[in-house]
Structure formats: C-alpha cells, structure tokens
C-alpha cells in the first residue's frame, strides 16, 4: 500500500486506520457533502433512480466480494440470496406487521442463513463443483418462490409496502436516495474494517492457499462458512432495499443472469478490494443505461441491419467488457485507481 510521504504505521491502531491525513479527511467531508447535496441540486428523478439502483448493486457486490474476492469461494446464486432478503422483508412486514427497521436486518439474517446452508458444500468441494452447488441455490430458491403459493405470491409476486423510518415514509426518490446512501456508507465501513481485521486476513489466507492457511492454524471451514454468511447477509440487505424501492417483487427480478453478471462485474471492478464493488456496480448499471440509450439510435442509423442484432447488444457489450478485463487487467479498475493514486502522490517524480 502506498502512503503519503511521512505517514508511518507505528501501532496496530494506526495500521488499521482508514482515514489518516488531513487531506483525506477534507476529501471525505467534501465527498459526503456532495453526496448529501446530490438529491437537492440534481433533483432529476431519473438520475436519482439510476444512482439508487447502483447503490443497491454495490451493496450486493460487496457481499459477493467477501465470498469470492476475499475468501476465494465461488457463488453463482447471489441473486437468489437477494431474493431471500426481498421476500423476507415483504412477508415480515405484510404478514407479521414488522416495522421496516426490524424487517431489514431480518432480511439480511435470513439470506445469511440460507447462504450458510448453500455454502456448506464449500467444506468438501471447490471451484467448478462449488459453482454447481451454488447454482442449485439459484434454481431451488427461484423455483420455490414461483411455486410457493400465497406466501410468495406464486407467479404474481408480492406487492411491497413502502419503507418508513421513525414514521417518515421513504416515498420520494430523494428520501430513498439518502437512506440508500446511509446504508451504503454503513456497509462499506463494515466491509473496509472487515478487510483489515483478523477475519479479513484469514479470508485472504484461505483464498490464497487453504492448505497453508490450515497449517497456520486458521479454521478454514469456519471462515469459508463465515464468508458465505456475511456475503449473503449483504445480498439480503440489498434484496430488501431493492424490494422496498420497486414496491413489487417477483422471482424473475432475481435471475441467474444477474448472478452471473455480478460475478463478471466484480472482476471488472476489482476482486478482493473494498473499492472493487463500487467500480463494478457503477460500470454494470452505467453500461446498462448507455446501451439502452444507444440501441434505438443504432437501429435508426443502420436500418438495413436486423434489429435482432441490436437487441442482444447489451449482452455482447457486457461480455466484451468482462473478457477485456480478464485478459488485460484481471485485477480490475481498482488496480488502475490505485496506480493513479500512487502516480498522483509521487508526481512530479517517477518513483
């Protein structure tokens, strides 16, 4: 890690501190002020809506980052864990009358427990076989939600009540944006701290070489399951936020394709880093918007080309982006960001 000149780690506490310099503090305050100001100065509901969806995606990717990025366990059922969170909060609020502030953590914990169950195969298998085991989660959960009768709304899904905190309904995009931003900050804070904690280091040890980690005394079973638990907790929270924002949920909102693209865009953002999910989420949702803006335009410019070609443009572009990153920058945008930071700190010197 590159630090500004003169900043040394003399204690463990210093080593674990994220914000160290006055410039960083000023930067953070400016960033937070800008974030709070966004809905008031850019009161464009379309943009706010895109930002909210991006925040939800980032939280979900942060969860996947624990499983894949830090602990090296693959999960192809992440979107299904989001569904568990979404359905839990809805059912708790509509059937048992839970308030939103209680149903939200419950959504996280229920997804975490289900994630734990589907993470159990990680104790015996890894890689491709683990991917298949988690793929089963995607299908089983999806099937249950679609055939779950009145509890899950069957094929019609469930209407979701609006979220409210202390009697204030988060009905407007502005209010929901602020709520989502607070959630993102909390989850990011936790993620960053976990990364530099004992647990985070244990995750990385298991990822890099589980045999060596076990020899060092790390209980790899415990940490693999913990990764699934925490990762799915994040997914559950993201799913609940998604449900309350859309006000309606359906199994098709949480598809296998989403799970796969989450994996792909986590690679694009940067695996195993706190900033990776942020970049991944922004690129994923941003690309989706850009493609949907240019597709009708391309159809008009090239009327001779079958419109069916453009209809798959989004998938082609996603796949291209993921392939390009896998080939040329497998450590993702985050690495380029770090290089830029180092360059900026050393400038005008080369090293």
């Amino acid at each position: 890690m590159w630090r500004p000149s003169g900043i040394f780690n003399r204690t463990y506490a210093e080593d674990r501190t994220v914000i160290r310099t006055r410039t960083q503090w000023i930067g953070l305050i400016l960033l937070l002020s800008a974030v709070v100001a966004i809905p008031f100065f850019f009161a464009n509901p379309y943009l706010l809506s895109i930002i909210i969806l991006t925040i939800i995606t980032i939280i979900s990717l942060q969860g996947l980052n624990f499983i894949l990025g830090f602990c090296g366990q693959i999960s192809v059922g992440h979107s299904a864990f989001m569904a568990i969170g979404a359905y839990t909060t809805t059912i708790l609020m509509t059937r048992l009358g839970f308030p939103f502030f209680l149903s939200l953590p419950c959504a996280g914990f229920s997804a975490a427990l289900i994630g734990l169950v589907f993470g159990l195969p990680s104790l015996r298998v890894k890689g491709f076989y683990l991917a298949l085991a988690t793929l089963a989660a995607q299908y089983l959960i999806g099937w249950y939600l679609l055939h779950g009768g009145q509890l899950t709304g069957n094929i019609y899904g469930l209407p979701v009540p609006r979220a409210s905190i202390a009697g204030l309904a988060l009905k407007t995009d502005r209010a929901y944006f602020l709520f989502a931003m607070v959630m993102l900050l909390l989850m990011s804070y936790f993620a960053k701290n976990l990364e530099i904690s004992k647990m985070g280091r244990a995750f990385i040890a298991v990822r890099d070489n589980d045999l060596a980690a076990e020899i060092m005394g790390i209980n790899i079973f415990r940490y693999k399951l913990l990764a699934f638990f925490i990762g799915s907790f994040y997914a559950g929270i993201a799913g609940a936020m998604w449900a309350h924002y859309l006000a309606h949920i359906h199994p098709s909102h949480f598809s296998l394709m989403d799970s796969i693209w989450y994996l792909g865009f986590l690679v694009v953002g940067g695996l195993g880093s706190a900033m990776g999910p942020v970049f991944g989420g922004i690129v994923y949702i941003g690309l989706k918007e850009i493609v949907s803006l240019i597709t009708p335009f391309l159809g008009k410019v090239f009327p001779g080309i079958s419109t069916n070609i453009f209809s798959g443009l989004a998938l082609i572009i996603y796949a291209l982006v993921v392939i390009v990153f896998l080939l040329f920058e497998p450590r993702g945008i985050n690495r380029q960001f770090k290089l830029f930071k180092a360059y900026y700190r050393l400038w005008p010197f080369a090293y």
Partner: protein, 418 residues
Amino acid sequence: MAFRLLTIKQGGRVMKRRISSRLVLVLVAVGFFFLAVTAPVVLAKEVKLGVFGDVTGPIAFTGQQFYKGYTDYFKWVEKYNPIPGTTIKILMEDTGYDPKRYLPVLKKFVEEDISAGYIMGTMGTMTMEKELRELKIPCVSEGSGYPPAINPPGYVFLLRPLYPDFLATAGIYFMEQWKKAGKTEKPKLIEITWDTPYGRGCIDQGEPWAKAYGYEVLPYQLFSGQPNDLSTQLLKAKNLKADLVYSNHLEGHQAVLLKDAARLDLLDKMQFCGGSECRGAEIIKLAGKATEGAWSVSHFADWTETQNKGIQLCMNLQKEFRGVLDYQTQYVMGVIPAIITAEAIRYAAKTFGPEKVSKETIYQALTTMPEIDMLGITANVKFSPTERRPYKHMNVSKCVNGQWVKEKYQIEVPWLKP
C-alpha cells in the same frame, strides 16, 4: 388623418407619398387574419406518450413489431385524421424486459411530463403498476399476466382479457364441437405449458372454471426453458386420454409440441390449442404440416382477413410507412394500443378542450368514453371506472392449408378473476 409612408426622390424633386388610415386598418386586419390562421398550429397542445419499449432482451422481436405498429398508426393519425388542437409526440425508451430498467424509465417519462403510456408486457406491468397508481399516469398494457392490475382504480388498462379467459375461450368452443359431435361423456382437458408466470397464467383460475364447465381436468404438465422435445408431456396426455391440449407459450414452443405430437401420431387423437402467441407465420415455418388443424385463441384479427377494415388499415400502414407488406401478428398488436390511446386523446380533446389534454383527462376519457370502434381488429373496447379489461369477446383461429384462418368469431368469455 394620414401617415407618411415613404419618400421618393424623383428628378430632383421630392415626392411624398401618403397613405390613408383606411389602408392601415386593412393591413392590420390582414395581419390579424394571418395570425388567426397560423395560431392553431403554433399553439397546438403537444401530447407526450411514453413507450416502455421492450425492443431488446428476451421479447425483443415482439417488442420491435409492437413499436412499429404503434408508431405507424400515430403517423397515420397525424397525416390523415389529426386530433384537433393537439400534436402527438412519442417518446420511446428501451426497457429490455428488464425489471431494473422500468422504474428509471418511468422517472424519465415523469420528467418529460407524459400524458399516457404503453407497456409491452407483464414484467413492466408488474413492476410499475403500483407506481403508476401513485403517479396517476394511465397506460395501456399488454401485461395480461398480472391480474392485480385490474383492481380499480388502477391506471393500467389491459389490451386483452386475462390469460384464464383465453383458456375459457378454447374450452367453450371445444365443448360446442364436442356436443355437436353427440358425445356425452366429459371431455378431458390437459395443459402443457411453459413454467413461467406467462405460461402458468391460466392455470389457477382456468382449471376450476373448466371443471365447473363440464371438463375433466387432467394434471397440468410444465416444461421450462427452450425445450427441443416435449414427448414426456405428450405421452402423459396420451396415457390419460386427453381430448383438448391447451398451451400458453410462444410460437417456438408450440412448434416443438406439434412436431412431437405428429411424431407420436397424436394429432388426430386430441385437439391442440394455444394462446394468442401460438399463431403466426413463424410457427407454420417451424412445424410445417404438423400445424394443420391446430387452434389458437386470439383477441385480434388474422392477417388473412383481408376484408377486415382493421387488417386493411394495418396493411396500408405497412405499405405507406415501411414500404413492404410484412406478415407479423405483433405488428397488428402494436396498432391496437395506438388506436385506443389516440381515441382517448381525441375524446379528451373534444370533451375538455385540446389545451386540457393531460394524464388526468386521458384517464377520465378512458374510463368514461363510449365504446371505441376498433375497426374489427378486436372487439370494440370499453373500459369503465371499475373495469380495466377491454372486452369480453375473443376468437378461435385454425391453421388451414398453411394459413391461420378464423374458425369462430366473438366467443363471449366469462372474465375470470383471481
């Protein structure tokens, strides 16, 4: 009184021309006349319509045809039958049948201050139905797979009855034929259908209705994904001696079903009938002769009905705005929401004045206006303050000599409700 208008130098003398006040008055009057003539064009109310276009993604092909039909009809309206005092502006955003896209696009349309919208499928309807109620934006929708949308006072106006009514249409017509043939035992109905909300949309309400109507209902058979073999489901139907096989899926699925039925020699033993998406040129191309004799329940006219005014209109639209005649059932389906929306705007403009055309007045028009003449494409449309389904009559088509022709018109359906 006179005004000096201009001064001309002529041969060293200055000649002053004067103009009378009468001439000034005439000029002013002419000016006002031109203003009055041009005023309606300048001040015409622009009515913005938002199209949630599923023109990419899993239903891209269908969505693109819907959009062509929709826009062509409005071009025709603007050219030949304009709505006095208004101009129509269509805004289209690609939603890709992706639930993540609908809400941002809706927000964008709200900013654009759209007065009405068009939703191309059940996914969009499900995702936005609650929000549309809150925003009070009336939208016509193809999303018949989401029954809660019909609960008043919803802002989603369906373009066809719910899917169970499609099953009921097939059931009513088949029973008619059954009794005509003098058979007295209960006919056996089986559903072989796609395991999706769309495919299963007719089971929950359709099967209890069928039992009550006199059918013996056999256990439904589901399949998922894009199958290339449906023998297992068909053999089940064969073993249970099904008489009517009903399916709610797409052309490709129905083609596989019919081809497998032909291979298993079942085409003469049971009647195959699909929903409105089990019809069109594609299925005949894919399943060939196996399509002969198959039925399809539909809510709109066939392309082969060249005497039908609505179909004639669709053909003219294609000739004029596309330059070619292209047999696409979905194109016709795209014209249907355009007719309904255009007529609602026309009614709102007539009743409340063109300048008052808005989402509120279009909603009022949709819920209170008299029957909309659909030129025979569908049954005439009539919504009400408490009803969001457009009509109670549907048709059954049959594949004869490689073409879909109307088998039975205007079957009254029960309007099954969840």
